[in-house]
Symmetry: D2
Subunit: 298 residues, 4 copies
């Protein structure tokens, strides 16, 4: 199970009445099938998974599996607060044919979630899971970062094959890579540092920005893979600005807005996530208008 | 709806097979009915609400309502990540006869939850709720603190009657109290600062420690109310140590362990929350052995 | 050496050419001599000590000692980054007749200043000092907080008699007080929590706000001491607002501006500290205009 | 004034009586003169500048200037808390023939040092300085980070030619590089991310690790410059471990200990900085013993 390449964490489209729209999800996936994305993460943070009901999650898992092209790898976001529910979701994803599970750290009872508690949690899930696990560290949402020592301890488990590190810390990622066995796969979760992370040994990337600008993200990966470092640097520079504006400042609503401009079905996020302001929409539109010329220069 | 006095956020007892034990919950409430606790918070953070299924929550809401003595006020913890689910839970609690709802801040998408987004969320819930709301700020778990300006804005809503502030910041609580209308009720959520918070105008307290040591917490409140400041200071000093050891260091497992020693049904928390180590149990037992003499001296 | 009561950390007046103005300092102290302030802190954080040259510090130490009334206790701020310089400054203050030294934590090399390193530093200074020491924890400036375990360890040193805790955490202060011997004196360093801190056992306060509003701060202390809890609560409520506006939002420039309004010589701070904006001046003036009526009502 | 390449921030050697040892400093510089280091930073954070007296600083500035080879660029650390003293130190460095000044952010009064205050401070220093300035952001020591908007604003000043960013955040560095004019020179200050930072456009590095392992750091820079990306990646991986152990965990004492092993005069730091424990010495010695074989493999 090699996870090289770029994966978007699919957004969840909503219908005008606020319910999820599985046809729109299918539409998006069919379009992504035509790109060189390596696969899809279903029900990650960008998928608004914490805002969905259990029944909605099931519908999304089923629809995404059916719509995804055969060659695309499918990673299911299955992390819940309780160990038991995480295992239940992971088993269901395995039943449905997902290739791997992405398990975020439990986080509500932060003061209790010391490294040994997190290690025990992940080992229980990995023991019970029929499919391999990816650890998922996303401290900007959870307030908890997996650090190299606990990652290294968990990398010894035969059913834990890698990590998505969305902390944005290249230093932590570098320390992780020097600490884990070579086969352990480190994926970066922030578009603004993809290229530098690839240069130090990350094998792939799971990027919210790839929902909106999949070709650009794939091109960056390919430029690196083929050793075109100067071009990679220039494209990364553009994506730094794109990521800052679209993902960091505007969040899921920003990603969905760009999708709407590009033939995907984005829509607006579920409350309490706010829709974009007009000012934000204008800034994004202006940015996109200058994107192709900027790319052409780069 | 006056929320003066001390409220424990009830713990959730689990049977040996890991399922919730409603008879144990009933047992605990019947015992608490004999104390001077002002009422109960059902499904708060100490109730491990984020580790429970929807069906388990329903069972707990129903059982607690039935077991609680008529004169005890009942506050339902109904905060979920999505606005819609928060409203749904709040309506269900109202149907069941709960007096008020305690709504924690949504928190997963922290960078998006700016003050105006939180205000909009709370207003939507308050508009839709048949029962009055208490805001709930608990940054040690959520990473988000409600600050005096947004609390003051929300205090203008006729269906928002107060706040539980568990941040532990007496300064923030003091600023809140000087900012909101006098009728807005501020409850403190940390046992180590109850007495100083009462001296500056808090009207009550919701304390995990009150699950384990209800009489002590009630006594502290009464000492303050009757103007016995020196005795209140001495008892607060004992409770500072109790809170630090039992709640801050040992967490929900610590609270439950003391409950087991005192005739309640505590048990162990649900995974990934870890049970106490033997060393922690010994430290708590030693502390409890010295508690009565310390109280007598105080 | 009892440090009960209220102490202002004296501001440093500057002449129009940017040099320090010792006559203005003398003027201020002579006025303060007529109040019930317990004494003065010379060259604390509010005295802009880190912006002064060695020669300027010497002038201030000498002038303050000469101007201070006999019965006022004199505390010298002597903490520097290096242990040797801290000892040198402390010895000089002792020579000049200061009663005690206030020693802030060294802080530049934060990652290295683990508790045992701080303990060793303070022990060396206390061993070498002819006068008793007060520890000084001010994390909003230094990024380092002294915690109850290290405070308790240092409280055993015969030449360390207390602490000024400016962290604003009443919980930490409460834990400190329950941990140290009764003779160890805990002074609070934030005006917004003076009264609640006194109720749990603080013996005094060192308050930037007391430079600007000495009588109000002294009155609060006296109300508490005489058991007028309701009046103390009301005055504290006013001082919460005063402290937030004047000290927290406007800083040293705010304190000096109020001094200028009240017959003291405040002036502006030294660069890079900025002077007040006109908007800030207006807000402070408006606040002061309403202060006496608010006090009268309270 | 091009600042490409690797610069060590020179350590300050102390004699056995605790005074500074200028002959040892000269010895070190003469050795460094034989390497391909691009120049030296004199009195940076690693030089323990905040622990030195004014007279000691003068001696070091003079000695370093005299000992440095003609072709080595000389950067003087001149940042002080006050604007006036920063200007004074910068002018003195210019008089002595330093090529540029490295000015760290003032930081004690953190809450007051908003972006516009920092911008005004740097502009005043830049206006007054006879030599070009490098901004210096080192939040792990100061608690203040310079962010891309203020860096971009300052980059417009003709006498501000670059920045040393020691925050360790590759994302911030990437955003800075995409925001400033091309001529503005960005130097990275953390050895664990040198190579990834070079790939995105940093022009050089100021590294504490380069005091201890100058050749390795220079080799990494050269590998990158010549496009040997795979070898650069492997050497970076070794330096990640070296930097973590020697610099992050052991601090200045760690850097000096390695210098002692390598023919330089390291010695121990000044108090309150602690010397290494025996356990730390053993870990470093073990690491160094495996370093050459690891490099050979890489």
């Amino acid at each position: 199970m090699l996870l090289s390449g770029v994966f978007p964490p699919l957004t969840t489209p909503f219908a005008s009445d606020g319910s999820i729209s599985l046809p729109d999800l299918e539409h998006n996936i069919l379009q992504y099938n035509g790109t060189d994305l390596a696969g899809y993460v279903v029900l990650g943070s960008t998928g608004e998974s914490v805002l969905l009901t259990k029944a909605e999650m099931e519908g999304i898992f089923v629809t995404a599996k059916e719509a995804a092209a055969r060659e695309k790898k499918l990673i299911a976001g299955t992390g819940a607060e309780s160990t038991a529910e995480t295992i239940e979701r992971t088993k269901r994803a395995a039943e449905l044919g997902y290739d791997a599970a992405l398990v975020k750290t439990p986080h509500y009872y932060k003061p209790a979630y010391k490294p040994d508690v997190l290690i025990a949690h992940y080992r229980r899930v990995a023991d019970a899971s029929p499919i391999p696990l990816l650890l998922y560290s996303v401290p900007q949402f959870t307030g908890i970062a997996l650090e190299p020592p606990e990652i290294a301890a968990l990398a010894e488990h035969p059913n834990i094959i890698g990590i998505k590190d969305s902390s944005g810390s290249v230093q932590r990622l570098a320390e992780t890579i020097t600490t884990v066995p070579e086969a352990f796969q480190v994926l970066v979760g922030s578009a603004s540092t993809v290229y530098p992370c690839l240069t130090i040994g990350a094998c792939g990337a799971i990027l919210a920005l790839a929902c909106a600008l999949p070709e650009k993200c794939v091109t960056l990966f390919e430029l690196f893979r083929q050793g075109h470092h100067e071009k990679a640097r220039q494209l990364q520079s553009v994506l730094v600005r794109a990521s800052k504006l679209i993902v960091s400042e505007c969040g899921i609503a920003g990603v969905k807005y760009v999708m709407d401009q590009r033939g995907y079905r984005g829509g607006i996020p579920r409350l309490p996530l706010p829709p974009l302001s007009n000012e934000q929409k204008t800034r994004i539109s202006d940015f996109l208008a200058h994107l192709e010329p900027a790319m052409a220069r780069a």
